[in-house]
Subunit: 410 residues, 2 copies
Amino acid sequence: MFKSTSNYPMITVEEAWRRVAAQMAPLPPRAYALDTALGLVLAEDVCAVENMPPFAASAMDGYAVVAADEGPRRVIGEQSAGPDREMVVMPGTAARIMTGAPVPRGADAVIPVEYTESDGDTVVLHANVLPGQHVRPAGQDIAIDDLVLTSGTVLGPAEIGLLATMGRAQVQVHPRPTVAVMATGDELVPLSEALAPGQIRDSNSHAIVAAARACGFDARSMGLIRDDIDSLRHAILQGVQSADMVLTSGGVSMGTRDLVKPLLEELGVVHFGRVAVKPGKPLTYATVRGVPVFGLPGFPVSSLVAFENVVRPALRIMAGHANIWRPEIEVHLQHDIAHAPDRTEYQRAVVIVENGVHVASTTGVQVSGRLKSLVGANALLRLPAGRDSFRQGETVTAILITMPEVATTR
Amino acid sequence: MFKSTSNYPMITVEEAWRRVAAQMAPLPPRAYALDTALGLVLAEDVCAVENMPPFAASAMDGYAVVAADEGPRRVIGEQSAGPDREMVVMPGTAARIMTGAPVPRGADAVIPVEYTESDGDTVVLHANVLPGQHVRPAGQDIAIDDLVLTSGTVLGPAEIGLLATMGRAQVQVHPRPTVAVMATGDELVPLSEALAPGQIRDSNSHAIVAAARACGFDARSMGLIRDDIDSLRHAILQGVQSADMVLTSGGVSMGTRDLVKPLLEELGVVHFGRVAVKPGKPLTYATVRGVPVFGLPGFPVSSLVAFENVVRPALRIMAGHANIWRPEIEVHLQHDIAHAPDRTEYQRAVVIVENGVHVASTTGVQVSGRLKSLVGANALLRLPAGRDSFRQGETVTAILITMPEVATTR
């Protein structure tokens, strides 16, 4: 069947996102081993069950003393970091003490070794010492029952360290969403094969898996699927059984071999099949057995831009992130750009900071097939429908994918 | 031995970095399978050996026609994306054609199906068509011999896609540096153990491994090493044999159990052992059998800040990055801050964009043991030596670790 009109009404980018967001929810929390939880979102409030430090600890290498004391002190021994030797520092005495060691009973201050002189048996202080000096009281950093990390915190290196300090070998987090990626199209061959006439190599499955991994998700390629309804049905069903989300690329245009939309209608519910966006008009969103399936366009740039704008924020909801969007910033255009006024357009651009101002240049010809327009790009310029051009010096909104480079003085 | 003066002269942050940088070089290039090369740095120029598209391809679903022709056309067949059916379109005829399909010989334009009407045998065009319209000529995106990616390019999703398009199953890249991480200290216990008096849990090995992984490096924990010269020697030698860099934490102060510096002197060359920086004064850098070894301080914040400022840029040189620094930006202080004037200080801060201006607040008490001062921080404020305070509204330099959040309208 080769129809001249699409079954699917054209909807706006905003309406498309509303329909996606309406059905996305954080994946149910699960216990992860701490060392596998980097980048995940905490799904519990974490309160301290111990003080940190658990005991009054020395902040320096030096001598534990009684601050009010005077004159030379007799050295009664040494307390290293480690087991408490249970010494008692009385007036007239001092204990050698190392950074992190428990401060012996009786002592109320630590004087750094740099300000002392010792023959081994006695120590003379060359500086005043105040009570409490260089002593970290028990619970100074964290007190028992302190709410240390709240549900919703993204676990970075410091948070991982803090959870280790608190003895949390496992933590409740929203799981890392798993994504099954497949490319469709009889014209496609795997990347290691030679091309026969009419053939091109599959690049989308590689690029989309990489895009999902770059955002911290767990992506897996299901490879190339033929334009054959049974192969495709089998692959999509396998995908929804094994992953939290399925991404297809290709097969969503109006051609006679564009089987993805009719198949998704058969297997589940198609929530939209056309969006007023450039690139990516045929973007399709369905749910099959409760699992979201995005039919990404076959053009390489279209599929990556659709991933950025719709798939990534959807996956971030599933991963439990409160902040699902890339930062957006106003940028000054370095040159005129033309734009199709009928749709929201995302042009690939390089944004840098020059004299404190964010400026943007697009990455050349913006046709959907041209992957080179994404090479080196660190931003998408969002050009609203309704205007056909923007002038050099005008301000537009940039969605920042990586941080703009800034001239450094270092 | 408990000495009151350090053997190591205090050097500036800048001098410390010069000594590190002088000995770092990109790791020798190696072939990586394309799907494992995300985030790595290309170590070859990549030229196209084929055109892309390899043939004149339709950009739309529609009919391949002779543009100059007029009237209804007889439909001679269908060309899908995939093997070339070798049809010939003559004046008076047209071929159904799908997006990505090779344009049949004789045809010079494609009219989208939306602008046509067909009974199956003939097709009538409802719009004008110009020669070349909706046809992507062979080599439009990439022509044979084009320099497509240059050595030094960081491989993101688009670059991975482009390399797949060009049939590159393997690419020459600088390898992902491997990092062996160990924590030292008799006071430390693994995170799942209960604490006896004087003990704390190892958090640094977990946090540093996470920090290295968060930057895309291949980090591995060697766990806890006792403050025992033989255990430590064995571990460091094992580290330098199996990794591109070794990171220790703890044992670099002036205490009697601070064995790391003397051991590194025995095993290799110590290039510095004290830096005028807060936090992180005892930071130590050595080479052992040609492998860089950093002795990070034992305080959790000190070790992570030293990782950020010295270890990360060193690893980025090894990974082949030209741009090794985080972006730096001027920020307005939201409140007064005190600062020790004798050293360069890095205070942990939250930077956000408010009305187009970057503003910074520090994360509370900045003592070195307080990991909470890193929780939620997305920047380090670099406070130069020579001043003892900075006032609300003043401008200081922020090193951005993650992108500042911006109020979005979306």
